[in-house]
Symmetry: C3
Subunit: 336 residues, 3 copies
């Protein structure tokens, strides 16, 4: 593909330096070779452009480059880069349409669907067009998988779970495991049957080894376009809105409601039965123990406004000096 053609396809303006060459590939700025294209989104890496061996670079508007190198100038260079990757390099793992002879499938399957070896698809499962089950996937009775959804190996989808269209579910993830609910009497725990389900709406991506529990009654819900990273725990009856980002190792306890466009950064925890508003941002490793109104940015343990917590954590470093000034004997530590 010529540079000029690629520029058109990714919505970038081409500023040629030299010939309109054939693009051989796309690589990082440090490893790109002649004939390849590369990319910078952050102006602080501009210096690296001077040293790259790439023949062209995707940059944002208004960027000034000293070097003689072809530029593909994009309004959103990160998006242009994503598109270029899609065109030049992206490749889903291979699969064949039809049912592998080593799969057990007890439900009707459209011809456009691919079911890999060692998949087990139980009875009464509704499968949309062009769904892909990579090998070793389990789907329980009565589940529904919307068209175009792609399911990686070793995923477990329990009975009755509903998954929308064009979702991606990565290896090892479990959807619809029993919620963690017990009645405790005299210290003994009696299981509360978890009779609800999980509903995953369209265009949701779920990382590897994630766990999403089914509701006690009704449904645990993941809203449209929400993206969940690896090793996240979502408890029973949680409702997550649309277009949220839930980063790796986050845990969300039972019955909490999260609005739309919310970001929860890595390893944060959110207690149960809370309301988290729209467009909220929750910092990494935060512990949220109260409701959070729309638009707020919170962090720390327990989580409070990020602007306050930044000052608190900065001031915390002065504590040894504070107790010295106040002549406080610091002995609680020793007492355990």
């Amino acid at each position: 593909m010529k540079l000029s053609e690629l520029a058109k396809k990714i919505g970038a303006e081409l500023c040629l330096s030299g010939e309109d060459i054939d693009i051989k590939g796309i690589s990082g700025i440090e490893t790109a070779q002649e004939g390849e294209i590369t990319f910078i989104s952050n102006p602080k890496y501009l210096k690296k452009v001077e040293e790259t061996h790439a023949s062209a670079v995707i940059v944002g508007e208004g960027v000034c480059i000293q070097k003689e190198i072809s530029l593909l100038v994009a309004k959103n260079p990160y998006l242009a880069f994503a598109k270029a990757l899609e065109i030049l390099k992206a490749k889903k793992p291979e699969y064949k349409k039809g049912i592998d002879k080593n799969a057990v499938v007890l439900s009707p399957v459209p011809e456009s669907v691919s079911i890999g070896a060692f998949c087990y698809i139980d009875k009464n499962v509704k499968i949309g067009e062009n769904v892909v089950f990579m090998p070793c996937v389990y789907v329980g009775e009565g589940a529904e998988i919307g068209e175009g959804t792609f399911i990686y190996p070793n995923v477990s989808i329990r009975e009755g779970v509903k998954i929308g269209k064009n979702c991606i579910i990565h290896c090892g993830t479990v959807i619809g495991s029993d919620g963690y609910g017990y009645v405790t009497i005299d210290g003994r725990h009696t299981k509360i049957p978890q009779t609800g389900t999980v509903e995953i709406h369209d265009n949701v991506e779920i990382g590897a080894n994630v766990t999403i529990d089914r509701a006690t009654i009704e449904a645990t819900v993941i809203g449209e376009g929400t993206k969940i990273d690896n090793l996240v725990q979502i408890a029973h009856n949680v409702k997550i809105g649309k277009h949220c980002l839930i980063v790796a190792q986050v845990g969300i306890a039972g019955s909490t409601k999260i609005g739309d466009f919310v970001t929860v950064a890595g390893q944060a925890g959110i207690a149960g039965h809370l309301n988290i508003g729209n467009r909220v941002v929750i910092g990494a490793q935060s512990g949220v123990i109260g409701n959070v109104p729309d638009g707020e940015v919170v962090s720390g343990f327990p989580a409070r406004k990020h602007s306050l917590m930044m000052k608190v954590y900065a001031a915390m470093l002065e504590l040894p000096e504070i107790i010295k000034k106040l002549k406080i004997k610091n002995e609680k530590w020793r007492k355990g």
Copy 2:
């Protein structure tokens, strides 16, 4: 089933308002329809009873409801609700007794046992009556699985692991992986063979994608009736007592002993070689680095008495004011 019959079965007293109707189902208070029963355990939701479409509601003793609605009054409404769910709605995923023709089973199996497709059961495994292996379960040589235990898909049970009666193990969980033990010489790590095993006692439930490591020698032990949530890490040689609750994403480091009736809330971590007493409660996200005596409630990092830590975390928010009052230049932050 008539309301009166259900009331008897769940141990509740029936206060009829209108007819003794046939109960069609059980739902949440906001979604229940006419003919259905619902439930409130917390008096603060009493107002919702006024608006529900349900025909009957399970409540605690001494609750006063204005609305004309049939009441099922129970000493423990949560337990009554659990029983009603069990009767009206609970349903284990379907399975057939016998060995699926797509399973590989190298051990003797009682007739009452169910082994799903793509299960691999190695040699010398002892399997009790009525055990269920859902599809895609691996069980290593010499493992033991007690009667009535139910194992969900994609579980891995390594060689020699012992699991008691009436346990439930959810999808993706790994029991008996090697403990994390090395001898480090000149910075290089030599593996210490992990030659012990794991013992899970009766009535234990283990969530999805949990990891429980085998001991170096002897056994990692999970006591009777203990319930473990998703994505929990239990290291080698840990001993957990009876009837504990270990909530999601908790990590317990090697050789720590935990008593009976202990609660460890979500994302908490407990360091290795510690003794945690009976009836201890450890708050969410705590970091426990010392022994905890019987009955204590601890929280925070490093974990101390919860009553102290509540005050500490409240006071922490005043730190910016404290350094202002004391005229301390807060520059450590910048220095990194």
Copy 3:
């Protein structure tokens, strides 16, 4: 095996008390029986030697024991113990060379390799001598597995991933899942294709239910001899050096570089795009948000020098007294 022979094999000097007996086994100091050998590495457990039933004990140099018991004196008693375990007790799970008839294998396989039931090995996979795939392993197209590597059940290795020699990968682990990368426009998240791979170098051990994401372009790298515990998350484009220890439930965000001989203790989190030097130690549950120079020990949230943070966390317990002394009304807490 005679005690004298064992002593020679584990590199220990034998101080006989009584006969040069045949060693029947190896056990913990509290459970060892007559005829068995046991071990102490920490002098604080010396008292337990007085009470053990074992016939011999592995100890460090210069240790003084009152009891009449045979001693195996080693420079590094922990290493001697590991060797004794290897000789007397260690046993890998059994496997047969060759391809199980219930496996699907689309690549050439050396005769020395073992592939268990329900494994799926896609096309163009390069497999070294003596590799073992336990049952239910998925390996995607074009992956490479070096000689002597041992892969436990239910592992997923995605297409193109490279794994070195003599690695061990425990159950449920996912290598090469898509990195978590999106371009967000008007709150909607467009997936950035994750077209890179993962490279695991020689002698790496990876625990159970770990997730290691493939790079956006180029490779996520785990250096030689590094040991990773259970439930660890390693994001796209992370580079980890040689001989590191990454303890359970650690999360490392995208593009961060970690040097050689680094220890990251349990549940710690490291933000993205950081440089962590050689021989760094990061405390349990730390939150690292800045670069860390060679040799530094850091802890806490946000992570700073451990020596400072020890004082800070000790002083934190005095906060209630501090605000009392300064007559600060502590009302921020209530305001949320």
